[in-house]
Subunit: 428 residues, 2 copies
């Protein structure tokens, strides 16, 4: 069973594919090869995801001012085609960020190499890069690697796994997820649709619009605007709620392709915004994105635990997010969790400086279900029981601000010696 | 020579006292004793600073919603007296935060104990606490420690050093600074005035109005409103520009007392806002606060280096501060400095997500004077020379956004294995 499935939250009506990934939806194949971006020949470093036919596409990208050339190129390709794509190519090790006009030229050239091999227009190829900033993309790696990858394209789970492995940087595990749902709920019983995905993300993670790299596929027949709307909503509540270290990458890219290959009677109109079909699809998409987002936090650089921070009772959704995010980004909170210390004073201090409006007398805090603070004051609690609960892989922090009815959940991880080792040693 | 003097930036017209501290200004005495807040009998844990006579006082406090009872009590005392104080008492180990009405009662009781011993109104005693959140202040420690401290009050440098030591938590060095200036510049040649101070701060440090605890004294004869104006301005450009870990404490307190004891001919009118006397005093105060702020960053939890981030060319001062602060709080930047890695891509990424408005094509970045990025693009630079410069105790990061003429400087430190050890192990 894939790593991300461990973090999957079951939802009514959705069936999880235990070994599923980016090729689980019909109409897609993938490959991951060693093209030589990584000096270690055992490491896959180039991923290719290809649709059998040109298909509907949508994407969200980083909001970092230093957004990288591959982001600019993919955005422009989608604009030019009006939301049609045939393939996504992604490499690790070199981010092609802060590389100026030459970086743009090379990102375009990488797309052109893929287009040549597949026999499609270059505009139908989307590109994504992750790795070191300020280094030019070695085009010869694409020239060598892309034909190799094209020759190995397959819809097998193993091929999807290779693609997911090829986009890893400091990730310790490939991240994949796939779910299916039945069309019965919206008038097409027996017609099953699938959403599959792969993602990577480990450091420089506080996506603002999208994660570092995620490629999602579906065989439901959505039109580009409906696809874009579903993606935007799903990302807002999944990838955009992850923070490993508060650092938003320059390369965040999240792409969703829809082949429509599973549709027999249902058509794009049955998945238009506002229809039950769009709602069913959106729920499946959200489930996949959430599993991957949680997996990303759980596999944050140096992490030993997933930390889920939920703030309730906020005055509005923005302040709920702000309060949860401030707790999730607090180095003091994150080191306390690493140290298995139910140090709720640090949580209170983070809430207090977050900018969210509340009175301290109204605040209740629980750590892993144990009430530690009520009405802004310390509660006696069983420290031994808290220590036992710290052995869980997921640590829940719940804070009620007592100031309203808005809530937000943000996922992060603990801050460990290994985070410092990884980032003090590696130019990533 | 005191630790903070290492971080003192010389200014024209100011004379540094090599061993000076909170008693360097005339009219003040101090003591630091072991009162038993700390189980280790070798550790001083209660500081007392006393003015010979009731004197003008001003203070700035944390803006954290979870502000602690001692903050509330000191603020109220200053309001009631209209800016008059006789003494400051501070303890380490117990923050008396998140302790509700009982916490307020105990903070008042601590002030009353000092007032009894000194024979002054309780309103003229200001209190400050630092340490663990959510624990009640043990009043018996004040009952025992305050008479002891009162018996040892002295204007000696050694007594000032004891007081500075008694407020330390995870600080590794006491932090003191004192400078003198001559009245010649504003018509009182030969009349010398002094500003002295002690401060503490090591973790949970991103002051927003004041640092964890700083007590400043002067023998210049300022009236409370003029004193408050000078303090507010000095803090904005010193303590409020420090960030160790982005966490604003619940207890930040910065108190300034003015005895007027050095004045022979000069009076409060000669130090009123807008006068050359106020300007001269403000410059001395800023120099002391800046040295302490830089010392605080240099002695941040686990720190091996002071990091000075200067952003120029910003559209306005707020965005300059935002950009500098985002770089200074970036775990990726801070671990790279620990790893002696001139990884400017992480600096660019932090600037890009800061919210400051600029075009990436206009950005220049230097690390320790070495140009590493120009016009938003990578420059080749001498990595060996960069590695040599990383041996310096102060690491300068300079970024020009090319978007305007505003600038800001923020001080921080690197993020190290020791930071994780200290905060993963210690309930502070």
């Amino acid at each position: 069973m894939g790593f991300a499935n461990q973090w999957y939250v079951p939802r009514e009506g959705l069936e999880l594919h235990p070994d599923g990934g980016v090729t689980s939806a019909q109409g897609f194949s993938a490959a991951g090869v060693h093209a030589g971006f990584n000096p270690d020949p055992a490491k896959l470093d180039l991923a290719l995801v290809v649709a059998d036919e040109p298909c509907a596409a949508a994407a969200v990208f980083t909001q970092n001012v230093f957004c990288a050339p591959p982001v600019a190129v993919s955005r422009e390709h989608l604009e030019r085609t009006g939301g049609v794509a045939r393939a996504v190519v992604a490499n690790s090790k070199v981010a092609n960020a802060a590389t100026g006009d030459e970086g743009l030229r090379r990102a375009e050239a990488a797309a052109a190499i893929v287009a040549d091999v597949l026999g499609c227009p270059a505009d139908e190829v989307l590109v994504a890069s992750t790795g070191v900033i300020g280094v030019h993309l070695p085009l010869e790696r694409f020239a060598g690697g892309v034909p190799q990858a094209a020759a190995r394209l397959s819809a097998d789970d193993a091929a999807a796994r290779d693609a997911a492995s090829a986009i890893m940087t400091t990730d310790t595990r490939p991240k994949e997820c796939a779910v299916s749902f039945d069309g019965a709920a919206f008038g097409f019983p027996g017609e099953r649709f699938t959403v599959g995905a792969m993602a990577k993300g480990s450091g420089m993670i506080m996506p603002n619009m999208a994660t570092m790299i995620a490629v999602l596929t579906t065989d439901a027949p959505l039109a580009p605007p409906d696809l874009a709307a579903a993606l935007k909503a799903a990302v807002a509540e999944s990838f955009n709620k992850v923070t490993v270290d508060s650092d938003t990458s320059t390369n965040d890219t999240c792409i969703l392709l829809a082949s429509g290959a599973a549709a027999r009677s249902a058509g794009p109109a049955d998945f238009a915004q506002g229809t039950p079909g769009h709602a069913a699809f959106s729920a499946a998409l959200a489930a996949v994105c959430t599993a991957l987002a949680r997996a990303m936090a759980a596999d944050g650089e140096g992490a030993t635990r997933l930390v889920t921070v939920t703030v309730t009772g906020a005055a509005n959704p923005e302040e709920a997010d702000l309060a949860a995010r401030t707790v999730a980004n607090s180095p003091l909170v994150k080191t306390a969790i690493y140290g298995k210390d139910a140090n709720w004073g640090r949580i209170a201090a983070a809430l207090g400086r977050s900018g969210a409006r509340f009175a301290k007398e109204g605040v209740d805090i629980r750590i892993m279900g144990i009430p530690v603070c009520e009405g802004g004051m310390a509660l006696d609690f069983d420290e031994a029981e808290a220590l036992r609960r710290f052995e869980r892989p997921e640590i829940a922090i719940d804070a009620d601000l007592g100031a309203g009815s808005a809530s937000a959940t943000v996922w992060t991880c603990d801050l460990t010696h290994d985070y410092v080792t990884i980032n003090g040693d590696y130019r990533s």
